[in-house]
């Protein structure tokens, strides 16, 4: 791959990141991870308290790309057909016509995903895993760029259903935004004094450019030793104390791909251990099912992955 293509792809990343930075302040780390997921073809689950900017971040990304964007507000009475679409009988021509649901889009914001019942949440399984949906026995392929950003409140909140493990595993990453520093919060207040900067945001890259970015990311080089490191990290979760269900090979795959994206963002042509370490927690932690006993003892999935990162010998 010639350096110009790589430079162009990196420029696409920088443009989107800069555009989002106009709206979301003090969240460059979150933006970086979000774009890494987008560029590596994974989906993202944002978990945080209400009002920390999850939806704004998702909308800023959607507006930055000249692509179709749809949003589903998840509620307890939402049905799978509300997401996938439904075939309706037309009396005039005596035939069923399929009405596409919001899932037929490029960027899908699944807002407060854990407020819907697991049944509805599961409607996303096939779409996220295989980029296709089966409705009435018919396979319909989704568009080439299909990126789901889901937001959720912490599971202990009222009126929430925990996501099924299989659904959790479909998300490449889960991370928190966290509260910003007081100075940044003051500048958020200043920015939104007259109008929301989101409304002024315009698309800065085209769909084609994003697809090219994805292709470049796939071509980033990664050595066998680091692939082994990825597998060691993921494999260690299956043997860790207090973990009932360790991470799947899908986690290894997602970690490698996301690390490739980060390598591109960092201006490298190959993956280094730092990129893998940076992404290990957001990619692995949410897939672990902890034992109740360990959970009561205060052991968290995040803590387990941190421990594994510390104890596993990093290639250097």
């Amino acid at each position: 791959m010639n350096p110009e293509t790589i430079m162009a792809a990196r420029a696409v990343y920088q443009k989107i990141a800069g555009n989002i930075g106009k709206v979301i302040q003090g969240q460059s780390g979150a933006t970086r991870k979000l774009l890494a997921a987008l560029a590596s073809g994974g989906h993202v689950l944002l978990e945080d308290f209400p009002g920390t900017g999850k939806t704004t971040l998702a909308k800023a990304l959607a507006r930055s790309i000249d692509a179709s964007f749809k949003r589903i507000q998840f509620t307890p009475d939402l049905l799978p057909s509300d997401i996938l679409g439904v075939a309706i009988f037309n009396q005039r021509d005596q035939a069923f016509h399929f009405h596409e649901g919001p899932i037929f889009t490029n960027i899908l914001l699944a807002d407060e995903i854990n407020r819907a019942s697991p049944r509805t949440q599961s409607a996303l399984l096939e779409a996220m895993g295989e980029s296709q949906v089966s409705i009435d026995g018919e396979h319909r392929t989704l568009s080439e760029l299909f990126f789901v950003i889901a937001t959720e409140n912490p599971v202990e909140f009222r009126g929430t259903y925990p996501l099924p493990e299989a659904q959790m595993d479909r998300f490449a990453m889960r991370f928190m935004l966290g509260y910003v520093s007081p100075e940044e919060e003051v500048s958020i207040l200043a920015a939104q004094q007259s109008q929301h900067p989101l409304e002024a945001l315009t698309a800065c890259v085209t769909l084609t450019e994003v697809l090219q970015l994805k292709q470049v990311v796939q071509a980033m080089r990664i050595s066998d030793e680091l692939k082994r490191y990825v597998v060691d990290l993921v494999g260690a979760t299956r043997k860790a104390a207090g973990v009932q269900l360790g991470a799947s090979p899908r986690a290894s795959l997602a970690l490698m791909k996301a690390a490739q994206a980060l390598a591109l963002f960092d201006g490298r042509e190959f993956v280094t251990p730092e990129q893998i370490q940076e992404l290990a927690i957001p990619v692995i932690a949410h897939r672990l099912v902890m034992e109740p006993q360990a959970r009561f003892a205060g052991v968290t999935a995040r803590g387990v992955v941190e421990g594994i990162l510390k104890s596993t010998k990093v290639p250097a």
Binding site: R221, I222, S223, E225, F270, E274, A297, S311, P315
Partner: protein, 714 residues
């Protein structure tokens, strides 16, 4: 530690005080509590916890061996295996008890290291798996076979260690109440910190008071009761009166003759009898024999307590000879409890139920054995005796009836005067003229069998129906009117009738053996029986003559409850426990035999664990050699920096490490060249395209330069 402050120090101090190691207890306690003020903590991995636990277990093992050897254990056990007899097994038992007490006292020391590492470890708890290799193997096996691994159980060491210290403090020699009050106070302290929130302080305190009070009353009360029974035992001049199952007294037997109403006996199992080598078991096991009848009591004779010691030949062999020069044909195993206590030395005491013609006893672990002139055998020994009785000799050790000149001639022929009219009236009904002595007995037996019936119910005599017969005795009433009675009536009547006919006879009590349970027989309290011993002049032997109609066994059996099976089960468990308690089973040697392979396995586990894991660790280290770029000169730089006290942790990446390193002012100037070198090094290591020859040379050169400069910086 989740225990209240200073509680662990207090319990260790208490343990030290009770074990005469006051200073040690104080020091250990303060060291443990210092964890509350010292913030430093160790990061303990599971593997390290396992190692500490293994160390403590080995320490415990060593302590056990030391306690055992220092209490003459090996010598005593060796003696027991060489000459297994009562004295040596007692000594061996004492040695193991002393060793166990010593070990319990040291347990807080043994596990102190584990507790200390727990107190100073960052996590403060440990997984249950750490304590047992079996649990760890189970987890590993689950992982290897892709099963869901078992739950991780997390434990805290502090509370178990607290209880351990209290237990250890209990192994003290003091007889005063300091242990009681100390334990009470410490437990109250511990419980107070854990009290449930739903109870008021008053309820909690009064509950504690009730518990402590009842414990105190129980402890003191037991002592008082013990003193009272001792007093009663000593006060009772007739010291033999207390020590029988259902009051079998070798001196006298109070019968129920003349008593009205139903006679009740329980179904409790009192004896277990098993044949040896398939021989038949004797039907009658005699406990005592009596000669003199004063209604309603049978007495031994005019001269009480004529017991003489039976020699054990040879000494400590468990072989006791009752009748020299006679060899019995058959053996039977008998297990019986000794229910009474000899007030002189506190040892259990009781009469042995034996076959009538018993000649010797084998494997009898009695301390002392006595018998009297009428064949009653009195044993002093452990609470349970299991022995072989040799019988079938045809003769018994009972003294023969009066010869012409002996002073007690009359005893076996005496008939109380007031019984005589009824006996004569009854004998008049029997056609006995011209019969031999033996035939006369059989005729009486036959007559009873056909004309009388067994009954445990005694009606009151109908005095009004027969005026003028108010002087009639109970036996007379039985013979002439009711024709119903239990074994004591039949036996007494038979003895008196035979004596009236001029045939010497004695009254015997014991058990009738008939109920099988598997390969052995059980004898219940209601199988207690009475019969007659009649002198067979031609053979010069006492012969058992049981004239009670055979239906008595069925009558008694009908009264058995359906729940008897359950009671028998408990009785069996009690019997097994008694066997263990009184050293009549072979569990102790088995325990020792089990201990040896267990210790062997433990040792193997420790050694094999090391051996198995060393190659694996070596393989892990060897693996990275295959990766490209391991010859990078950057590693020399890293080693040089590590020597300066800036080592890289295993999970730390190079950039993160460099950030740490360059924060050091001495090395801060190297930030830029180091970062350049890392970039080159990373390309060499992780870029599948690798470095060009020029770049590789540049890495080598720059690294050398940097290394030299670094060495010049102090």
């Amino acid at each position: 530690m989740k225990t209240p402050p200073l509680l662990m120090a207090a319990v260790l101090l208490f343990w030290g005080w009770q074990s005469d190691m006051l200073l040690a207890g104080l020091g250990l306690g303060l060291l443990l509590e210092s964890a509350r003020v010292i913030p430093a903590r160790w990061e303990m991995t599971d593997a390290e916890i396992v190692r500490v636990w293994n160390f403590c277990s080995l320490l415990g093992l060593a302590a056990a061996i030391y306690a055992f050897t220092s209490n003459e254990g090996p010598a005593d056990f060796g003696k027991m295996f060489e000459h297994p007899d009562l004295q040596t097994s007692q000594l061996a038992g004492n040695a193991s008890t002393a060793a166990a007490i010593g070990l319990v006292r040291w347990l807080p020391l043994v596990f102190y290291f584990f507790m200390l590492t727990q107190a100073f470890s960052a996590r403060g708890d440990f997984p249950l798996d750490a304590l047992s290799p079996f649990l760890r193997y189970r987890r590993k096996w689950h992982l290897q076979t892709n099963r869901p691994p078992p739950r991780v159980i997390i434990l805290q060491a502090a509370w178990p260690y607290f209880m351990l210290c209290l237990c250890a403090a209990s192994a003290h020699a003091a007889t005063d109440l300091t242990f009681f009050w100390g334990t009470g106070a410490l437990l109250a302290w511990a419980l107070w910190s854990q009290r449930p929130p739903g109870f008021t302080r008053r309820v909690w305190l009064s509950t504690l008071g009730v518990v402590l009070g009842s414990a105190l009353v129980g402890q003191r009360g037991l002592g008082e009761l013990n003193r009272l029974t001792n007093f009663a035992d000593n006060y009772n001049a007739q010291w033999l009166a207390k020590f029988m199952r259902h009051n079998t007294d070798p001196e006298q037997s109070r019968t129920s003759i003349g008593r009205i109403g139903e006679q009740q006996m329980s179904s409790q199992i009192v004896l277990r009898v098993a044949p040896v080598n398939g021989t038949a078991v004797p039907t009658h096991l005699r406990e005592a024999t009596y000669r003199v009848y004063h209604a309603p009591v049978w007495y031994t004779s005019g001269t009480p307590n004529d017991f003489t010691s039976v020699p054990e030949t040879p000494v400590n062999s468990g072989h006791w000879v009752l009748q020299p020069k006679v060899a019995g044909r058959a053996l039977v195993t008998i297990s019986c409890y000794l229910n009474a206590i000899n007030p002189k030395d506190g040892n259990p005491l009781g009469v042995l139920p034996l076959p009538g013609d018993c000649d010797h006893l084998e494997n009898l672990n009695a301390y002392d054995l006595k018998n009297n002139s009428v064949g009653t055998v009195l044993a002093e020994g452990p609470g349970l005796l299991t022995f072989h009785a040799g019988f079938g000799a045809g003769s018994s050790c009972d003294a023969p009836p009066a010869t012409n000149n002996a002073p007690d001639t009359s005893d076996d022929l005496v008939v109380p005067d007031k019984e005589k009219p009824a006996l004569d009236a009854f004998l008049a009904q029997l056609p006995l003229a011209g019969l031999s002595d033996r035939a006369k007995g059989q005729a009486i037996d036959h007559y009873f069998g056909t004309h009388f019936e067994y009954s445990i119910w005694q009606e009151p005599p109908k005095a009004s129906a027969r005026p003028g017969s108010t002087n009639e005795t109970a036996v007379g009433n039985f013979l002439l009117h009711t024709h119903k009675g239990h074994c004591e009536f039949f036996a007494t009547a038979t003895v008196l009738l035979l004596r009236e006919l001029g045939i010497p006879a004695r009254y015997a009590v014991g058990y009738y053996v008939h109920e099988t349970a598997g390969s052995h027989y059980v004898v219940r309290e209601r199988d207690a029986h009475a019969w007659c011993l009649v002198w067979d002049a031609p053979t010069r032997h006492w012969v058992t003559l049981d004239t009670t109609p055979g239906s008595w066994v069925d009558t008694e059996r009908k009264r058995m409850s359906h729940w008897q099976v359950i009671a028998d089960g408990f009785s069996w468990m009690g019997y097994q426990f008694a066997k263990f308690r009184w050293g009549q089973s072979h569990i102790r040697p088995y325990l020792l035999a089990l201990l040896v392979p267990a210790l062997g396995y433990f040792l193997y586990q420790i050694i094999a664990y090391r051996r198995r894991h060393q190659p694996a660790a070596a393989a892990n280290r060897a693996a990275p050699v295959n990766w490209p770029g391991r010859d990078s000169e950057f590693y020399e730089l890293e080693a040089a920096l590590a020597q300066r006290g800036l080592p890289r942790r295993p999970g730390e990446s190079l950039t993160a490490w460099l950030d740490q390193v360059t924060a050091d002012p001495a090395v801060a100037g190297f930030q830029e060249p180091l970062q350049r070198l890392v970039r080159l090094h990373y390309r060499l290591r992780f870029d599948p395209s690798g470095l060009t020859g020029v770049e590789r040379e540049a890495l080598r050169r720059e690294a050398r330069v940097c290394l030299n400069q670094l060495r010049n910086v102090q």
